[in-house]
Amino acid sequence: MSNPSSQGPSVLQFQNTVKDYGSKKIGPVDLNIGKGEIVGFLGPNGSGKTTCMRLMLGLIRPSSGNVRVNGYDPISKHVEALNHVAYSPELPNIQTFLTPTELLTLVLHELGFQGDKQDEIRRVLELVGLIEYRDTKVGKLSKGMVQRLSVAQALIGSPELLILDEPMLGLDPAGSAHFREIFREFVMGGKGTVFMSSHMMNEVESLCTSVLIIHSGRILFRGSSSEVIRKVLDYSVVTVEAQGLQQETINSIKEMPNVSQVTINNQTIEIIIKGHDDIRPALSDLIVKSGAKLYTIKTADNMLERAYIEALKKNGVDR
């Protein structure tokens, strides 16, 4: 069921990669991530997401198989592989005694950055909205600010591949929207690539060009959000917001081809359709002709979440 193919030239490759912890085995994983993608990496806790990320970063060795980052083995050719690769870990793995400026200075030294360090630090701190806190100890920053700093230390220098572990965790809605913009701009032009794990399905659905679902160390599905939804779900859901709908119109909707269920909640109607035919044009015609006021008609927002839950159910995970 896995689909290891990618769009552009490969930046990340797993070839039959296994990590055996003794009590638990992750893999074999086959994966190929191309340049210019924003990949959402989904899976329940303990499914192997972090293990895969740590393999990419050369923090752990595969038990068998290969991992290649930019064509290099991240263990034996760590510097070559991770040149232009940046990682943002989950909270709160940043030393609390450092200030953002001190942390970013250390990172620039690690990267061997040759330009004006102060200018670069100012640039990323302004980008993530932390410039006012540049000299505040990390221990005194809020959870969301630490998350911003975690992303800032990944964006500093000239990275081409961002590996992000739950990058939106702890961010307010405005912060999440701002970061989505940053990541979109990062991949613009096809040079940058983002590989991010997340439990926030809406974020992944709206941001990612490609989705990977992993469970028990195996890639279950790979494709764009809509491809994954089509592969996993044998139904689609349309939500309608309208005023003045008569019972007769609702009955007509129920009688439309492939409609299997209609649920009404105030002015909102949820229609479940067998298969993935787009019934929205016919549906809107029907509602408008009935004399009701149609406000919105769209595919349900949480289709990826439904597909994700369904995919896990099919593989024996209930919650």
Binding site: R54, L57, V85, P89, N93, I94, L98, E110, G112, Q153
Partner: protein
Amino acid sequence: MESIDKMTRVDIIISFIRYEMKRAIAKRKVLALLAFTILLDTFPYYALSTATNGTGFIPLAAYPYIWVAGVFGLQPLFLNFTAILIAAGAMSEEYEQGTAELLLSKPVRRNDYFAGKFLGGFILFLIILAFNILLSVGSAFTFFGPQASLEILPGLFIVQAFSSLIFYSLAFMLGELVRRSSLAYIFSSAVFFASFIISGYLGLIFSLTGKEFYRTVQIYLPTSPANSLPVQYASPLLPQTVGIVLRFVGADNTIVPTIELSVAILLAYTLVAIGIAAGYFWYADISRRMG
């Protein structure tokens, strides 16, 4: 191009040294150790001057060498234990907090990180050692008047630093192997105190039985060269009258017979410990944050 790469690597190692020093200071261990050093290097001199005032307990001829009490008296316990306290947490605390992961996810060589951590902690130890020597001399001057033979202090500083390297390296290695700071402190301290106590018993058994085996084992325990070398280095450079001061602080008896053997044992322990730590660090997975 290669020289630029070398410069960058040196720059990276220096960054890690600075980082490690800052980290250790932030843990407040170093401040506590400095405060303890002040206590150990001032109060005993004050007490000694009060107790010996006019009693002749310490002859006047030994007064210019009373600084020896502070410099040598702290080596057997305090300095070695300080080395353990600084080194045991250098690697293990980073694993516990998950911060090693962030630093090593960058395009840096593990060797550079290892070197920076090792040297950063050791430089901090050297600062405490220098502070201890200066404070001993200052206190001795304050309570017993002008001090003599101070020209040996730079050499003595280097010898004491080298002697402490054995427990610094052992604790650093254990921190890397067990990756939990509390266990690393316990194991390192256990090695140190076991060596200290067993050495005493072996010396006693040797003096009672005269069997060379016990003496030989005692010589090769890590505390023996660590405590013998500074005395072996300084004794020929100081006058006979210093003997009474050394006796007073229990540092007059060297267990290892020659200075060369002390150096050899110290080097062997240190290099093996560094080798094991480096090998394990290079090969093993980087641990995740522990709960």
